[in-house]
């Protein structure tokens, strides 16, 4: 959770995934998109201004196995880039967005030489024209696991494709948060085991357990 500087009044903290971490320097970075007031204020802060963080929180992706497929939609790239950096094995990232502008990071910027990035944009402005779900059918057969983060509609579709192909899948979910540590029960998601807390029981859940309501 990222606490908002108090000069802006009372704002709830905002949850972000860890994009990269340098354990030696004790630094973490986040990759974020401006969506509303909170992210606009964060984006407008001067360089070097202090920001209070609480974390890491909750349960992330399980360890990467060989032949894993990573799937990111837009800024959902953040936790997958972090996951990809955790191993030197070869792996493939399918990275989609509406337009090239929403593909916030280029493969080169990620600096992960063993990562093959397949880009897709709905308008064809970069990579293949289409959505990640147009690309997955070709890649799922050879994969042993799938890890995904992105908009809910994408995750629901990816879940369906992975289940159908018999590939175990983990997805990272989003919901509005208040405490971030599992106390307030505000970030519930409906699962086969009842409501679970995205901030503490997740944000990553086995795809098969998540019940999407649309």
């Amino acid at each position: 959770m990222t606490y908002m500087p108090p000069e802006y009044g009372h704002l709830l903290p905002r949850p972000f995934s860890i994009f990269s971490a340098d354990r030696e320097k004790g630094e973490v970075s986040i990759l974020f998109e401006v969506r509303g007031r909170g992210t606009a204020l964060l984006a407008g802060m001067r360089q070097g201004a202090p920001v209070k963080l609480l974390g890491p929180l909750g349960a992330g992706f399980p360890a990467l196995q060989p032949d894993s497929l990573l799937v990111a939609g837009g800024v959902g790239l953040a936790p997958l880039a972090f996951l990809a950096a955790s191993t030197e094995q070869r792996r493939t990232l399918v990275y989609g967005a509406r337009t090239a502008k929403q593909l916030v990071c280029s493969p080169a910027e990620l600096g992960l030489p063993n990562l093959t990035v397949v880009e897709a944009t709905e308008d064809g402005s970069r990579g293949k024209r289409g959505t990640v779900t147009d690309i997955l059918p070709g890649l799922l057969p050879g994969s042993r696991a799938l890890f995904a983060c992105g908009p809910q509609r994408m995750l629901a579709a990816v879940k369906g494709q992975a289940l159908q192909a018999g590939v175990p899948a983990w997805i990272s979910l989003e919901e509005r948060m208040a405490c971030g540590i599992g106390a307030c029960l505000g970030c519930a998601v409906q699962t086969s085991g009842g409501y679970r807390r995205i901030c503490r029981d997740g944000p990553v859940f086995p795809a098969g357990e998540v019940l999407f309501n649309d």
Partner: protein
């Protein structure tokens, strides 16, 4: 120089600090106790417990509003049995005092939970949340009718000798008659306020933003309304008040104490800053030193008595 004494006695519960964690935001306590220093808290009021487990409302359950938030958790809770078996043991010892908030969908359920908690080791007091929808009366909240309030509180009172606070809903025309009904039915103290009913609409979908349409408004936005009701309740009853609603600073806490509160609780403020209780306690101590005040009793309700003589 004065060494301020921050202890207060809330309906027979001796508290080392007048700052409590409000029911709900703090969950069952252990999540916060694990992560942040909670030693400044006088007590934890745990999240509402019903006889049977309650599933809670569909998401989204939270929304941010101007200087506040809406929640529609729907009183999700594990039920009395699992609370006693799993949550209470984690709290005992780790927490300062423990006050258990109880909810029900009819009067019997309230009474059953109170009976089940009465002998439980580690429970220092009860707080009845009468803002729950009364399922037998078409979902109208118990706490909006003085006669129903009287019946719920009496039923619980018969089941327990524990200090008993009654937590009032602010969604009423006259908080004074509800506070009086609770006092007459045997309450040892009044807690207020619970959340103000509110909603938001998502203009992109054209639908209510919360899964449950309505939610409860809390946070600094509600402070002036909460303070007014604390003032009115203090006028109406003789039992002590535990006051809350938008507190995020020692100055906020002082306003409630000066209106007549014995102790205060923080809810939404914990989300903005989990270290808030310690900051408030240090702020209160600083204020007392500056103003030569030994105990909070000296300023409890002072605004109702004309304020400082030459302030």
């Amino acid at each position: 120089m004065i060494k301020p004494d921050l202890r207060v006695n809330l309906c027979g519960i001796g508290l080392e600090s007048p700052v409590l964690a409000a029911s709900g935001p703090f969950g069952y306590g252990h999540e916060y106790l694990e992560r942040v220093d909670c030693s400044a808290l006088g007590a934890i009021v745990v999240k509402g417990i019903s006889a049977q487990p309650w599933a809670g409302n569909p998401p989204p359950r939270l929304a941010e509003t101007a200087s506040g938030m809406l929640n529609s958790i729907g009183l999700q809770n594990p039920g009395l049995e699992r609370f006693l078996a799993e949550d209470l043991p984690l709290l005992k010892g780790a927490a300062p005092r423990i006050i258990v908030n109880i909810v029900g969908c009819d009067i019997d359920e309230y009474a059953d939970v109170a009976a089940g908690l009465d002998g439980a080791e580690g429970v220092d007091g009860l707080e009845i949340n009468i803002s729950c929808p009364n399922l037998k009366a078409g979902g109208v909240a118990f706490g909006t009718d003085p006669a129903v309030t009287y019946r719920v509180v009496s039923a619980v009172r018969r089941q327990t000798a524990l200090p008993l606070l009654v937590k009032l809903s602010p969604n009423v025309t006259d908080i004074k008659v509800i506070a009086r009904a609770a006092e007459e039915a045997g309450a040892d103290g009044i807690s207020l306020i619970n959340t103000l009913s509110g909603m938001l609409i998502d203009t992109e979908t054209g639908r209510p933003l919360l899964g449950n349409t309505f939610g409860g408004l809390s946070g600094p936005a509600v402070l002036p309304a909460a303070l007014r009701m604390a003032w009115q309740a203090a006028e109406a009853v003789d039992i002590p008040l535990l006051a809350m609603g938008g507190i995020t600073s020692a100055e906020d806490a002082l306003q409630f104490i000066m209106a007549g509160a014995r102790a205060v609780a923080v809810g939404t403020g914990l989300f903005y800053d989990p270290e808030l209780p310690g900051k408030i306690v240090r702020g209160l101590a600083g204020y007392m030193e500056e103003h030569n005040i030994n105990t909070l009793g000296q300023i409890e309700g002072i605004a109702r008595r004309g304020g400082y003589a030459n302030g």
